[in-house]
Structure formats: C-alpha cells, structure tokens
Symmetry: C2
Subunit: 279 residues, 2 copies
Amino acid sequence: MFSIGEFSRITGLSIKTLRHYHEKGLLPPPLVDARSGYRYYNEQSVERARVIARLRAMQFGLAEIAEMLGNCDDEADILDHLERHKQALETSIRTQRGIVSSLDLIIATEKEAIRAMENSEFQVEEKRLEPMTMAGVRMKGRYSECGKGFSILGRGVGRFVCGKPFCLYYDAEYREDDADFEACMPVRAAARPAKGISIRELAGGRAACLVHKGPYEELGRAYEKILAYIQSQRLNTLLPSREVYLKGPGMIFKGNPRNYLTEIQILVAEDEAGNRMNP
Amino acid sequence: MFSIGEFSRITGLSIKTLRHYHEKGLLPPPLVDARSGYRYYNEQSVERARVIARLRAMQFGLAEIAEMLGNCDDEADILDHLERHKQALETSIRTQRGIVSSLDLIIATEKEAIRAMENSEFQVEEKRLEPMTMAGVRMKGRYSECGKGFSILGRGVGRFVCGKPFCLYYDAEYREDDADFEACMPVRAAARPAKGISIRELAGGRAACLVHKGPYEELGRAYEKILAYIQSQRLNTLLPSREVYLKGPGMIFKGNPRNYLTEIQILVAEDEAGNRMNP
DNA sequence: ATTTGACTCTCCCGTGGCTGGAGACTGTAC
DNA sequence: GTACAGTCTCCAGCCACGGGAGAGTCAAAT
C-alpha cells in the first residue's frame, strides 16, 4: 500500500488532484484509515490512475472519464466517446486556426504600415504601379459611404484579399454628394465575382504618388500638394485616381486618425518606352 | 442613452455579461442612476463594446483586454499582445492536433481489430505476406520483456509507425528464459535507425497463419494447431516466425485479455513460382 | 391614481479542474 | 519527548459568465 505522497510520486498526479479524484469518486483509495483518514493506494490504483492521466492528457472531462471507466474496460467500448471527443477537438482547432489567421492578417498589416511610415518621405514621388487583379464595388454618392462597399467586398471576397484596400475616383473634380467611385481590394486570381462585385485586372503604369498622414478630412492638403507637383511638371493625368488606405481604422480599434496613412496615386500618361509625356 | 436591455440587443452581449464587464471595470456605463442603480450606455459604449466583443471572440482574457484598452487606442500598440496570443493559440493547436492524431490511431486500430475479428475464421490459412519496411529491437531473454523493446521503438520511431506491432522469433523451439526475439513495428520508409533500433526490409512470402483470440498465456494452443497443420501438409517452415498483435493492451485501457487477437504467421518454403515446397 | 407587465437591480450559487493556504492531526526517526 | 515531514479537512479563488430569488423601477393602459 502506498501513502498519498508515495502514490503521487508514482503516478505524477499531485496530492490535491488525487484528493479531488477521490471526492469525485473517480479514483477512490482502496483503503482509508478509519481513525486517521489517511488514504492508501495499491497496484490497481496505479493502473487506474495511469488510465485517468492518459484520458486527462487527451483533455477529456472528469465526468466523461468516470462514465468511460464505469461502463468499459476495453477501447472498443468507448469508440463513440473517442469519436465525439475528436469532433469537438477538431471544431476547437478550426476556431483557433481562424483566430490565428485573423491575427496574422492584423500583425502583417500593422508591420507593413510601420514600414510604409518609416520609408515614406511624405513627398511626391513618381513610381511604377504594377497591374493587379482586383475586386470592386462601384458606387455613386458620398465618399463617406465607401464603408458599405468594403463591407460587401469583405463578405464576398474576404478570403481572397491580398493587399490594402483602396478607392478609385472617376470624377475629374471633387464632388461632395454625387461622387463616382469604387471601393476596391486587391485579390488573388481565384476570386469570383458576386452580386455587385466586379473582378478584373487593373492596369499599372507610371504614377505620381504621395503618402498622407492624418485624418481623411485633411486629405485635401495632400491633393493640393500633388496637383501642384503635376502642374509644375506639366504632366497629363489619367482617370481614375486612387487612394490606398495603408493604415486606417483597424480590425480591432478605430485607431487614432492622426496616425492614418493614405497614399494618393494619380496615373500619368506615358509613351511606349514608359517615359512620362508632357503636353 | 440606452438601457441595459437595449444595449444588450445592440451589442449582442448578454445582460449578465454587461454587468460582469461593469464589475470588472472593462465597460463602465457612462451613467448609473444614483437612485435606481439603472445602467445607461451611449454611442461610445457601443464602440467599446464592439472592440471588447471582437477581442473576446479571439479568446483574449478579460484582464488582457482591459490592459490593451487601457494603454492603447491603436493596433500598433498591441502588436506584442497579438503576437503572444498567437503563440499561445498555436501551442494549443499543436497540442490538440497531437491528441486528434492519437485518437485517430486508436480509433483506426480498434476498427481494424473489429474487422479482423469479423473476417477471421480462427482456422489455419495459407496466405502471402507482403514485404515491408520495419523497425526492430533484437532482444534475448524472456518473451515478457518485449514491452521494453516496444517502448524503445515507440520513442525512437513512433512517428513513422504504419501498422500493427509484431514479434519475430528466431528460436526453433520454445524457450522460457533465454528466447531470441525481436520487437518490431512496420514503419514508413522515412524512418531512420537509432540506438538499438534496426530499420530494414522484411521479406514477404507464403505463410501459414492463424488468428488466436484470448490471453497470451493460451497462445500455446494456437501453436499446437498451426504446427499440426504444418505437419499434416508436410510443409518446410522458415525462421523467424511472427506474432502480430492485432489487438492487445490498448493505448488507454489494458483491455480484457479474453478479447486479445494475435495472428501467428509461419513462413513456409516455396519455389520460384510461389508454390509451397513439400519435402 | 392605480395597476399591470416588462424591465432592472443586487446577491448568492454553480460551472471544471484544480491550486493555495490555514489550522489541526499523524507517523516516524532520533 | 520532540522535531519534522506527512496528511487531514475545510474554505477560498481562478475564469467568464449563467441561473435564479426577491425586491425595486419604468412606461403605458385603465
């Protein structure tokens, strides 16, 4: 016979745990000294304790273990328990995997935003935009309605998104109430159109670009700057222009608008060799 | 201002949960009626509640959420929280995946055992054994020591196991104390030898086979039967003979030895065409 | 003004699988 | 005898709530 301390060392279960199992009727000690209340265990207890420990390591609950041990002494008898438990675990794994991929997305987004912040001079620069596959929801109305477009995109092609959200603006001048624009997401080629969502290639080309830091209300200042540049360089601009939301309201927090990063991209005409064309 | 019931409907959080968040200081209502104690929430509460709900859906703890909300209002500020949490989730996923694969193994084993049981006539039959890659631990001593060999195999090549454990017996006659045998496991080709473990191809061939149901102590009766068959058919036997443990002590339960299934396989000499050779 | 009925409050207990601690007893060695 | 390790019971706490009792409150209908 083993005292509870010895038995604890043998089985690797803590004394507290053994008392708990006793209380639950899961592993009653074969002998309890009537006078002192001391628990004494034997070889069979060791075997039973090992079984319980194995099942606990598989994250079975104590009640279920009790049931399994009560009715059965062979693994064939608990096949349905095992299968049910496996199902439950797989559900849990799926959930957690979903969370991990959300976290990955957020982390990647934030790290990119930090890099964009460090690299950007907040000066107008000309660069080459690569063609990409995109999904878009064309809208007419107020700019501030674009959130609805992004909701539609999220639900429709969320799984295929592979870059920052952006907007295409089809108006040559600023319009308050009846703007013509498109909420867009870069997507992988596997994405398929859905109701209201167009999937297509967006052509690349040379563009004047400027990163703006701050709330969207102040974007006007950035437009002023980039348009001044375009005039000074006497460039021919092409529609639609783009706003890429490098960092905006996050997936968790709304964030501080003072830290928002938005890149304005305005395509400029170029000749076959890729050189910009002045009028 | 919203009463707690309205607010509950807006946010999808139960009233109990909202009270709990209040108590924890996580989401204090902007107004608590001093006389009635009624809680009243506003638009900002909605925003905060949404954030909390998103973080809870990602299985963050309330304390951690409080910390995140306390210091930060931007996702960049909680990158380390997110990364830590992701690590924790990945650990949990790994654990659960390990459990699922154990469960899969047990379930598959039991189902196979049930099939073997249904299909077997418990009569001697001759069949063709396929060659296989195996891992083995050669031992001399008592048969009952073979458990140690299987422990070594489990630790060494457990990940590569692809079939039932078996033993090879190199003695022509029964030996009590100094048997020469090898504890073996079929393994995938990727397995690599380790200390005391040999990995090699085991040749196939024609064999006389008999499934025995019952405890190992009664295996003698099965040997009697199969040897009688071999004599009656005047076959030439080849060493080593095999015992395949179709169903023995399980990974959870020891099981009932009366249900153990063991297949004895004794290779017999054959000519090039695969026909058995009588003397 | 009252009544009804829906709403809300606080307080306590329970969940699961333990862990920690207090204070009292027991066993064994010197 | 005495020290000291071991063991006992009982109570509290963890986490994020849910259930329910019993009392008070709000808004509309009578």
